[in-house]
């Protein structure tokens, strides 16, 4: 009975904290080095739709960092920590929701899994309510494997297939298996992350020419992702297998279970205003 009272008390405290907290939201992009992720990565329609869920509409930040680098690099997690820390400090945010896409989930998970790496990390973790990770590449992707396999280094030629970015190397499945087992939390057999890591899983690519839903986010991109599905499982979004997307944290929902018309989200659509994805993110605030 005592435990019941304690749980009820903590639950009430949590609700109280959430209700009276200063809530902020950060959008964290995936692989790449954007200087204007608002327009180039997410697009304004998505960001502005999500912003409507905030009491104070200025409490939103769109992060711009170099995620072509390894997740532990100062240009990646160091940059993300700087932008998140400055955001919560300058705006007195004590209830931070972080929304990540793709490899952005790995960089955020690096911060959450290695709290002593940087003296700013504990403050960021303590301010977090949770992370909503859209299509995170937690288990890597066979596409990174495909492009790295056989890419030998020869003294005269250098890398015979050309140099691949650190982020591509990092997202090989075997590399992510190592990092998940040693440096990252939240996957099977590992301790949980210090705060929730809720995943939205994209499970298919639909590219029928007559279906207007195939055009959301761009038809050419959708067709390209349908092609690259050949290297992936039946359940995949054109870049990641579902097993990679749900490898860490807890599943919030699969695309077809919640989105408008039971539509699947391909890897490009999962960062765009497609099939009410933005509404789910907004209402979660």
């Amino acid at each position: 009975m005592r435990n019941l009272y304690l749980t009820a008390f903590l639950f009430a405290m949590a609700l109280f904290n959430t209700a009276f907290a200063n809530t902020g939201i950060a959008l964290v992009h995936g692989t790449g080095n954007p200087s204007d992720a608002y327009n180039s990565y997410w697009k304004s329609e998505f960001v502005e739709s999500v912003r409507q869920g905030l009491d104070n509409s200025s409490n939103l930040i769109v992060v711009n960092c170099n995620f072509d680098k390894y997740m532990w690099d100062a240009a990646a997690s160091g940059c993300l920590a700087t932008q998140l820390h400055d955001f919560i400090t300058s705006k007195n945010i004590d209830d931070l929701i972080v929304v990540t896409h793709s490899n952005g989930g790995n960089v955020m998970r690096w911060i959450m899994s290695n709290p002593t790496w940087d003296s700013r990390y504990p403050r960021i973790i303590d301010s977090l309510r949770w992370v909503n990770a859209i299509a995170p590449s937690s288990g890597g992707t066979p596409l990174a494997d495909a492009v790295m396999q056989g890419n030998m280094f020869e003294k005269v030629l250098g890398w015979i297939l050309g140099f691949k970015t650190d982020a591509v190397r990092q997202q090989q499945e075997a590399w992510m298996a190592y990092y998940n087992a040693n440096w990252l939390l939240g996957t099977g057999g590992r301790p949980s992350l210090p705060k929730g890591f809720w995943t939205i899983v994209g499970s298919d690519v639909e590219s029928a020419m007559w279906d207007r839903d195939s055009y959301c986010g761009g038809y050419a991109e959708t067709v390209g992702l349908e092609v690259t599905q050949n290297w992936l499982d039946g359940c995949s979004d054109g870049f990641l297998n579902c097993s990679s997307q749900n490898a860490a944290g807890s599943v919030w929902f699969y695309d077809k279970d919640r989105l408008r018309g039971g539509e699947p989200l391909n890897h490009n659509q999962s960062r765009r205003k497609c099939f009410n994805l933005d509404v789910f993110i907004r209402n979660d605030i």
């Binding site: 903590l10 639950f11 405290m13 949590a14 959430t18 532990w72 100062a74 709290p115 002593t116 790496w117 940087d118 990390y121 504990p122 303590d126 977090l128 309510r129 949770w130 990174a144 494997d145 495909a146 492009v147 396999q149 056989g150 890419n151 280094f153 020869e154 005269v156 030629l157 250098g158 890398w159 015979i160 297939l161 050309g162 691949k164 591509v168 190397r169 090989q172 075997a174 590399w175 298996a177 190592y178 040693n182 057999g189 301790p191 949980s192 210090p194 705060k195 929730g196 809720w198 050419a220 991109e221 067709v223 390209g224 092609v227 690259t228 050949n230 290297w231 870049f239 807890s250 979660d284």
Partner: protein, 386 residues
């Protein structure tokens, strides 16, 4: 899963003690490419665990499974024809031009499109673009899907009507004999995979690296046509000796060479294996492992009234972390309680980390696992199970 449930536990975690020490320890001038420029402040953090968390303790093993293989060929071979081996229908084939030396100069070989390729098998000869191959992807399509990944590559899926088995792939395009291509065959629908396993994921100098490999099913290995090698992050290759095991094969290598690498970059063990069966199976599998320099070690753990003192011997200055996995219980049953993290900059010599443990009556706390991490070089140096 209910997010509100998680809020409750998130609040518990928010009660965690996170402190930042005021003073940074002494500087070291041994900063180089192999040392990350990390914060020198000491930081501690305490993370609550759920009692029912299913946590695996001890050294971590790694495994990988592959249904694909790749090979590098030159232009002359591709013009006369190169054999592809599949064990199931609808294999996916990708062709990527590589750099080569042409007339003494480095050049990227010409891109080959599906229209440039002819595939022949038991059911005849087909131009890849006209045969009804179920999917043909031009280099432009693949590049637009993932520019950073599939630049210049083209691909096709072998049409179901062509079945499985051996195929001859050749090009009629005029390409230089010395040009170079990577052919990658993904036998996606096959039930035969090459499985690799290592009982540990992290190695240091002087240790023996051992990786087991076997085909799934009843495929036997053709030892004369198989090999394994270790490849460093910068491309140096080391041949591994193969020994027949009870099931499959073991590849071994004593690590007695320079193990310097950029922090976090992994080495890979690559197996190229062929079966000795009539229906030839060919597979390449790659396992990523860490090989690092042993820069520090846990020397001693001493328990006192308020916790444990962990002594660490440091050979090279850097930022080090002790991660303590603490289980709690009141009787015999112990459950996950929390993780205590403590990191600080340490110079060469002997140092101590203090791990706080509860001294409350009736509540027992035990350190089930201790980890020593070199944050500056990204290496897991010690894992001690208590």
């Amino acid at each position: 899963m209910n997010k509100l449930k998680a809020v409750t536990f998130a609040s518990l975690a928010a009660l965690s003690l996170a402190t930042v020490a005021k003073k940074a320890p002494s500087d070291s001038k041994e900063i180089n490419d192999y040392l990350l420029p990390l914060d020198k402040k000491a930081v501690t953090f305490s993370q609550k665990l759920m009692p029912d968390e299913n946590i695996t303790l001890g050294k971590t093993s790694l495994s990988v499974s592959s249904k694909s293989y790749y090979q590098t060929i030159n232009g002359a071979a591709l013009k006369s024809g190169v054999w592809l081996y599949t064990t199931a229908e609808k294999a996916v084939v990708r062709i990527t031009p590589a750099k080569s030396l042409v007339n003494g100069k480095t050049a990227l070989s010409k891109t080959l499109e599906p229209t440039d390729l002819v595939l022949s098998g038991n059911n005849g000869e087909f131009n890849v673009s006209k045969s009804g191959m179920s999917i043909q992807a031009s280099s432009q399509q693949l590049n637009s899907a993932h520019p950073s990944i599939f630049k210049n590559s083209s691909a096709f899926v072998i049409d179901k009507s062509m079945g499985k088995g051996d195929f001859l792939l050749k090009t009629n395009k005029s390409i230089d004999d010395n040009s170079k291509y990577l052919i990658h065959v993904f036998d996606k629908n096959s039930n035969v995979s090459l499985d690799l396993k290592s009982s540990q994921s992290s190695f240091s100098q002087g240790q023996l690296l051992r990786v087991k490999a076997k085909f799934s099913g009843n495929q036997n290995i053709d030892y004369a046509m198989s090999n394994a090698k270790l490849i460093s992050p910068t491309g140096e290759q080391y041949d591994m000796s193969l020994n027949k095991g009870k099931t499959g094969v073991n590849a071994n290598l004593k690590i007695d060479f320079d193990t310097q690498r950029k922090p976090g970059e992994l080495w890979k063990v690559v197996f190229d294996m062929n079966s000795d069966s009539q229906d030839k199976v060919k597979r390449t599998a790659e396992l990523a492992i860490d090989i690092h320099e042993k820069t520090a070690r846990i020397a001693k753990v001493k328990y006192g009234n308020s916790g444990a003192e962990v002594s660490v011997n440091v050979d090279k200055p850097g930022r080090y972390e002790i991660r303590s996995w603490i289980f709690t219980g009141s009787g015999k049953r112990m459950e996950p309680g929390r993780i205590e993290y403590s990191a600080k900059w340490l110079d060469e010599g002997n140092h101590t980390f203090l791990v706080p443990l509860s001294s409350k009556k009736g509540l027992r706390e035990e350190i089930k696992q201790l980890q020593l991490m070199d944050q500056s070089r990204l290496a897991v140096l010690d894992i001690l199970e208590q």
